[in-house]
């Protein structure tokens, strides 16, 4: 940064060294040290809805769109939850669900996986939290392209509709596993090999198209529509996480789109992109010369960044929650930002660690194991920084903080088993066992889910203006936390003794006897954890009208979303005047300050004599 620039923006003036307390006789006046560059762009021109339909249905307000995304993603998530219940019913108590055949089981596995990863977690983090929080946190009036944003949600709506419609077509939904590996995906004998997979591919293509519209909005809003004084390095880590995840999505979803399109052509037109020569029931099929491994590469080039599309927003959000609720600045903010960016970049070079047993060249395994294990470095940095942020903090042990602590523990657990599976020699015997199931559910299922829950308890007072009930929240947390560990810890053991995943029943195998008790226990825990999630839904419905009123900035946070003139914020967010930002959002417990927090909009002249960070 040049001297000239610093003088212009008053960067120097904000550091504690140059402002001595009681410097009334100094040469700089308050308006000098509070200087922020003038606005570069004219105020955004917004379309205000007039009718019920333009205000709440086809709405262009990012906050309403965020809530719409949230509700629809939650609805599909509940569908996925019910499918997991049915699966656990079969695994724990074979035959207890009378109607369930092996085909149904495969279909439920597939739909549960795809729904939870794409239609629940991705849509919730980026569509839900992204839409609601990005404009508020960077001080924009709305997303930069509100119309496109609305189309994004309705594309997602249609995608979900097409996905759920596959339950009602001949043959039912596809049962090829959420990875949709050809050739079995479109071969006779796999459930849903005709209509099911066709609708799945169409739904994914619609989702990608809709997401691209939303993603462009998130990126340009962060890059080009920040308010005065909001530099990239003053953004809350939530925005950094969602921003980087969106970059990942914009570059990874194309591979899924191409894979889904080619699969559809193989299925409908009889091309052989992914289909080798196949003999089925003594008959040579018309396919020849395609490469199934090509699909695996395309799928995982999407699939691995997808893990971080889910994880990075979680990392960002949990950093903010921990900082606010332990009343300390986030330790190593810049390190956290670069770790997010670094993880995002690395995530494009690790995809084939999902393919160690696919028959690719062993040297590839060597390369991808190395890159995979390198990711442990930035993620470990983040975990240490969360813990150091907590260390000697003024911790509020409320429900939000409980979810954050639960996240850290769960993420470390899942991360450590990730180091096992990242090594080729350990992965080969463990692949396709319950160890893998336990690993990815811990690290990208439960861990991000804990962040979502924490975020819901944290931001509900902003969205609804009322607190969620703490007692119900604690029940919800402890049932989920202990229950999730009861589910997934035993699964690691099941994996070690070799129980294969995706099996409908263990039949007469040795696992039938050795794993049966554990499977029953896991299933019981799964029923309880699933039921516990309805506590949250009950809590939301109950407190929406009758909860304790929150008022403005109830958590005493610093970031802009809590500083709107009205709570909940209205369309346009900021009334007639955009906020001006003077600092990062983590000035908690600054020595010398009157209160334990200094909001981002507090001008430097108000905090003269305190030891605020230079940001």
């Amino acid at each position: 940064m040049s001297d000239e620039y610093e003088n212009k923006t008053g960067y120097q003036a904000q550091s504690s060294e140059t402002i001595s307390s009681g410097s009334g006789g100094g040469s700089r006046t308050a308006s000098d040290i509070d200087y922020v560059r003038p606005a570069e762009v004219t105020d955004q021109d917004l379309y205000h809805g007039h009718s019920f339909i333009t205000k709440w249905v086809f709405c262009q307000d990012a906050k309403v769109i965020g809530v719409q995304y949230f509700l629809l993603a939650t609805f599909t998530g509940v569908v996925g939850l019910i499918l997991s219940w049915l699966m656990r019913l079969q695994l724990g108590f074979p035959g207890a669900a009378g109607f369930m055949t092996a085909e149904h089981y495969y279909q439920f596995v597939t739909m549960h996986g795809m729904i939870m990863v794409v239609y629940f977690l991705t849509a919730l983090f980026l569509g839900g939290f992204g839409n609601y929080l990005i404009p508020l946190m960077v001080g924009a009036r709305d997303m930069v392209f509100p119309y496109l944003n609305m189309v994004s949600f309705w594309s997602f709506f249609v995608a979900v509709g097409v996905l759920l419609a596959s339950f009602f077509v001949p043959g039912g939904p596809t049962g090829a596993g959420w990875t949709l590996y050809p050739p079995q995906t479109i071969l006779e004998g796999t459930p849903g090999s005709g209509w099911g997979i066709l609708l799945m591919c169409i739904s994914l293509i619609l989702f990608v198209a809709g997401f691209t519209m939303g993603g462009l909005n998130y990126l340009i809003t962060v890059l080009q529509a920040r308010t005065r004084g909001m530099t990239l390095m003053r953004m809350p880590l939530t925005v950094w996480g969602i921003f980087t995840a969106t970059v990942l999505a914009m570059l990874a979803f194309p591979a899924l789109l191409v894979g889904a399109l080619m699969m559809t052509l193989d299925n409908v037109l009889g091309t052989s992109f992914f289909m080798p020569t196949i003999i089925q029931a003594g008959e040579i099929l018309e396919y020849s010369g395609g490469s199934p491994i090509l699909f695996q590469h395309l799928f995982w080039f999407f699939g691995h960044p997808e893990v971080y599309i889910v994880a990075l927003p979680a990392f960002g959000i949990v950093s903010d929650l921990i900082s606010v609720h332990s009343r300390k600045n986030i330790f190593g903010y810049r390190m956290m930002v670069w770790a997010i960016v670094g993880i995002g970049g690395l995530s494009f070079f690790v995809w084939a660690h999902h393919m160690y047993v696919s028959g690719m060249n062993p040297w590839f395994g060597f390369f991808f194991a190395t890159t995979t294990l390198i990711i442990a470095i930035p993620t470990a940095m983040k975990v240490y920084n969360w813990i150091i942020t907590l260390w000697r903090g003024n911790i509020r042990l409320n429900v939000v903080m409980l979810w954050c602590l639960g996240f850290i523990v769960t993420f470390v657990n899942g991360g450590i088993t990730g180091i096992f599976l990242g090594n080729v020699s350990i992965d080969v015997p463990l692949s396709d066992t319950y160890f893998v199931v336990a690993h990815f559910h811990m690290v990208m299922g439960i861990a991000p889910l804990m962040v979502i829950m924490g975020a819901v308890y944290h931001w509900f007072p902003l969205v609804a203006g009322r607190f969620l009930n703490e007692t119900l929240g604690k029940w919800h947390f402890w049932l989920t936390f202990l229950g999730a560990y009861s589910i997934y810890f035993p699964m690691h053991y099941l994996g070690f003794i070799g129980v294969p995943r995706r099996y409908f029943e263990m039949y007469d195998s040795p696992y039938m006897t050795s794993a049966v008790g554990m499977n029953e226990f896991i299933s019981m825990a799964a029923f309880i954890v699933g039921a516990a999630q309805f506590i949250l839904i009950f809590n939301i419905i109950k407190t929406l009208k009758t909860g304790k009123s929150a008022g403005s900035n109830p958590w005493k946070a610093n970031s802009l979303e809590w500083l709107t003139p009205s709570v909940p914020p209205e369309h346009g967010n900021w009334g007639d005047k955009l906020p001006v930002v003077h600092r990062w959002p983590y000035d908690f417990n600054v020595p010398g300050a009157k209160e334990d927090f200094i909001t981002q909009t507090t001008p430097p002249s108000d905090v003269v004599g305190t030891e605020v960070e230079k940001t």
């Binding site: 940064m1 040049s2 620039y5 923006t9 922020v36 560059r37 606005a39 570069e40 762009v41 004219t42 105020d43 955004q44 021109d45 379309y47 930069v144 392209f145 119309y147 496109l148 691209t212 462009l216 990126l219 340009i220 890059l223 080009q224 529509a225 308010t227 005065r228 004084g229 909001m230 530099t231 990239l232 390095m233 003053r234 914009m250 570059l251 979803f253 194309p254 591979a255 789109l257 191409v258 894979g259 399109l261 080619m262 052509l265 037109l269 009889g270 091309t271 052989s272 992109f273 020569t277 018309e286 020849s288 010369g289 395609g290 490469s291 090509l294 590469h297 395309l298 080039f301 930002v581």
Partner: protein, 236 residues
């Protein structure tokens, strides 16, 4: 969309300027219209789509059981009793690249507020795109009449037909969408929507000549992709 007003702001050149812009508040790309930044990022994403297609094509071509057909034979055209290889495709490529030139001129005249010239040049671009799509349809029907299908191919590997129809089809869809928008924008230019900042039909945002540059970015991208498809399918 909001107008950039950075008259007073001094932009420094080179890496230093870039790092200063990155470290500053409000915008990363100083003075860049939101829609223009969006189009660049969309095109980056679209680049990944076409890259995935072309990489799949390379992989597919490498793993077929039957030999890949000879491109100059398949794409040859029989004119006046002489077999001319790649004749049609040369004309197609020429037309498309020329339409990029007229598009660039349209952007120039747009910023000069020369409504008439701008409109005619956009129309010329649209017609160029239409001719391209028409010739592609001719080429498709010629190949189909010779027996090439997405699932089979009398000249060799069936994957040739699959990849050819899929990738040129995907590109042709891009061109067709571009042509539709070019016609709409030509109408809007002639009707003066960009001069009077008339609000759009769907987005209700004010019109501005920058929209023509944004569409131009898309059009140049579609041309650039065609160069790669041309190289991979017709010259390899």
């Amino acid at each position: 969309m909001s107008d950039p007003k950075i008259d007073g702001l001094e932009l420094k050149p080179g890496f230093k300027g870039m790092s200063e812009d990155t470290g500053s508040d409000q915008t990363m790309f100083k003075g860049v219209h939101w829609g223009k930044a969006m189009m660049w990022i969309f095109l980056l994403s679209d680049t990944f789509i076409f890259s995935c297609f072309l990489i799949s094509y390379m992989k597919g071509r490498g793993s077929t059981l039957v030999d890949w057909p000879n491109a100059s034979q398949v794409f040859g055209l029989h004119v006046f009793g002489v077999e001319v290889p790649l004749l049609l495709i040369a004309i197609m490529t020429f037309v498309l690249i020329t339409s990029s030139g007229t598009m660039a001129l349209a952007v120039k005249y747009g910023y000069e507020k020369n409504r008439k010239m701008c409109g005619w040049l956009i129309l010329a671009t649209a017609v160029g795109g239409l001719i391209f799509v028409g010739m592609q349809a001719f080429e498709w029907s010629k190949l189909i009449s010779e027996g090439v299908r997405p699932w089979e191919n009398p000249f060799g590997a069936p994957q040739f037909g699959s990849f050819f129809f899929m990738i040129t089809g995907f590109h042709g869809t891009h061109v067709s969408i571009g042509v539709i928008f070019l016609f709409i924008y030509a109408y809007k230019t002639f009707a003066g929507h960009y001069d009077d900042s008339k609000r759009g039909w769907f987005t209700s945002m004010k019109g501005d000549y920058v929209e023509i540059e944004i569409l131009g970015l898309y059009w140049h991208f579609v041309d650039l992709v065609w160069v790669f498809i041309f190289a991979f399918f017709y010259l390899w």
